[in-house]
Amino acid sequence: MTVVVGYVPTPEGEAALTQAITEARKNNSTLVLINSSKGEAAVDTRFAPEGGIQDIERRLAGEGIQYLIKRPVRGHDAAAEVLDAAEEHKAELIVIGLRRRTPVGKLIMGSTSQRILLEADCPVLAVKAS
């Protein structure tokens, strides 16, 4: 069984990762970390830099759990990538970070969390930044 976590290099993303580690350890499952980008802009701040990913890798290795880091860039949005991974790895749980959004922001940009919450086939654990 696996725990899928949608990671972005923000406080919300960090909170989700921390929670996912706890969950994975509790059930002795594999942690699948997804950090994706559509790859359409020259710069994407939500796509973690190489150095950040290496830090996470070290941290996960230190936690002594099985893990898999995926960084897909194929034009799908983050929600689709997380749902894809959940299906592929038969996830028992998806962990995501929530952040405050204005109604207008949600209207224009849509909400990744909302899509994951509504479309996932497994329980979704949503955490906020501490």
Binding site: S37, K38, G39, E40, A41, A42, V43, D44, T45, F47, P49, V73, R74, G75
Partner: protein
């Protein structure tokens, strides 16, 4: 004294509220397209060519000049923060600039680039104001044979000296000349390359050609590989420089200017060669050679000054002779033509107020650019987060609108798509775009001079050599064309060629998006050693 008073008149025109507004729009647009890799001033001016139907010529050229200078400023921001040159002229800036940024000195790198660009741009524009009238004085005495020779030199130099492959360069030039030939023969009225299509009888509109090649071609090319792993911009605060940075920057600025202006003014000059020469010089003269390769401020200051001085230099032959030496100047020249203004040495005479307002606006634009670039650099870097699909959808929309608005003919849209596909194929197969656009724009004018020459000599080809200057230029052309063969011979005879420095290799690595001049840079580097 005459120059001074004309220039002051120019300032009076350029500072009227409307013209000032266009200068502001120009520099903002220019910086934006300079920051975005893949977009450049040439494409932007091409997209804006249709506005020439609505705007006063002076306002339009003030805006175009702002875009041209702005592109040079904006390119450096991307080079420094992203290690991807926003423009071909800031390829060299990326070498040291990005290292500086990685070492936490992005603010100083951006500051020296912006202030250096300002210093060089201002000196360069002053040189332009002084030199252009002198060149004009000399040029009005030239006859058709000399003009023909000068234009042939410009075309061949751009084709043979710049670009990685001469064969591709000449293929591109041939395409351009062929497109320029379409339409009615100006002397006999014979139809050429019209394929019986009456709509082609007037020739292809330069607006449609430029928009297709620059905008549609580039948009298709980007669409073909839309998704790339995102890069990481190095976060930066307000650019500033310490006392030691000033001390280390001012000499490279001046030396960069000295390299940039003359190279920009030469046909086939462009900004790439002087930026590289400046880099190499600074590396040799630096008191901190150990810092080179790890982020030396001299390596940013010099090349950035050089590219702005080159931009000013490019305008000298453009305004004084009607001879563009890079893509943006070529498209600006097309704008002159679409206003029915005859470019050439008569320009200062017939359009004096316009030309001087343009030069004055360059001074103003430079100052504006310094003001909007120094405090706002972090903001400009945010532009890089724009998703490409939105950006290029917008470009395609304006391209189509622009092409249609020229003649209000659906037929032009067909031409736009065909030539856009051509532009895409050229990028796919590594053909440089510059020779094509120069061929389209200069082709008909070269033909005109050739016809005039031959009419004067009653069809005798000897007429081409009837002026001493023409003969001198043909000698230069021969040298340019034969130089690589001679170079190869020399190299064969001296077995141990010194390897070019790591910098050259870096410059080549950094430069994949923009068609630049690996070989030219490479050989120049060798010459220096």
């Amino acid at each position: 004294m005459d120059v001074w008073s004309s220039l002051m008149d120019g300032f009076a025109t350029a500072l009227t509220p409307m013209n000032f507004l266009y200068a502001v729009i120009g520099v903002i647009l220019g910086t934006a397209v300079g920051v975005l890799p893949g977009l450049g001033p040439a494409m932007t001016v091409a997209l804006l060519l249709p506005v020439t139907y609505a705007l006063e010529p002076t306002s339009a050229f003030i805006m175009f000049a702002g875009i041209y200078y702005g592109g040079m400023y904006g390119g450096s921001t991307t080079s420094i923060l992203l290690n991807t040159p926003g423009e071909s002229s800031s390829v060299v800036t990326a070498i040291e600039g990005n290292k500086m940024a990685k070492a936490g000195r992005a603010a100083q790198a951006l500051a020296t680039a912006a202030i250096g660009s300002f210093v060089a741009g201002t000196i360069g524009t002053a040189l332009l104001a002084v030199c252009a009238p002198i060149v004009v004085k000399f040029a009005v005495s030239l006859g058709a044979p000399s003009y023909f020779a000068i234009m042939v030199l410009a075309l061949l130099a751009v084709t043979a000296v710049l670009g990685s492959s001469r064969l591709r360069g000449f293929a591109s030039l041939g395409l351009g000349l062929a497109i320029g030939l379409v339409g009615m023969d100006s002397v006999t009225g014979q139809r050429r390359l019209t394929f019986g299509q009456p709509l082609l009888a007037d020739g292809l509109d330069i607006v449609v050609v430029a928009v297709a090649i620059f905008a549609v071609g580039e948009a298709l090319w980007v669409a073909a590989h839309l998704r790339r792993t995102p890069l990481h911009a190095i976060p930066v605060g307000q650019p500033w420089m310490g006392k030691s940075d000033w001390k280390r920057s001012w000499k490279p600025w001046l030396r960069g200017t000295a390299f940039g202006f003359p190279f920009g003014a030469l046909p086939a000059g462009g900004a790439e060669i002087p930026t590289f020469l400046s880099y190499v010089t600074e590396k040799r003269l630096s008191k901190h050679p150990e810092e080179f390769g790890k982020g030396a401020i001299e390596g940013v200051a010099g090349p950035e000054a050089a590219n702005n001085a080159a931009a000013a230099g490019t305008l000298t032959p453009m305004l004084a002779l009607g001879l563009p030496t890079n893509a943006t100047a070529a498209v600006m020249l097309a704008a002159f033509t679409s206003y029915g203004i005859q470019p050439g040495p008569q320009l200062f005479e017939s359009q004096g107020p316009l030309v001087w307002a343009l030069i004055a606006s360059l001074f103003i634009g430079n100052l504006l650019l310094l003001i909007i670039n120094l405090p706002l650099a972090p903001l400009w870097a945010k532009l890089l987060q724009l998703p490409r699909p939105y950006l290029y959808a917008g470009i395609l929309f304006f391209a189509t609108l622009g092409a249609y608005s020229v003649n209000l003919q659906a037929f032009d849209l067909v031409i736009l798509l065909i030539l856009g596909a051509l532009g895409f194929m050229m990028r796919r197969f590594g053909l440089p775009v510059l020779p094509l656009i120069l061929g389209v724009i200069l082709g008909p004018r070269i033909e005109g001079q050739l016809r005039k020459t031959l009419q004067l000599s009653a069809g005798d080809p000897a007429g081409l050599f009837s002026e001493p200057i023409a003969v001198g230029i043909y000698v230069i052309i021969a040298v340019i064309l034969l130089w690589p063969f001679a170079f190869r011979l020399i190299r064969r005879n001296t077995p141990v060629a010194p390897p070019a420095g790591g910098a050259a290799a870096l410059a080549m690595d950094a430069d994949d998006a923009v068609h630049s001049n690996h070989n030219a840079v490479y050989s120049n580097h060798k010459e220096q050693q």
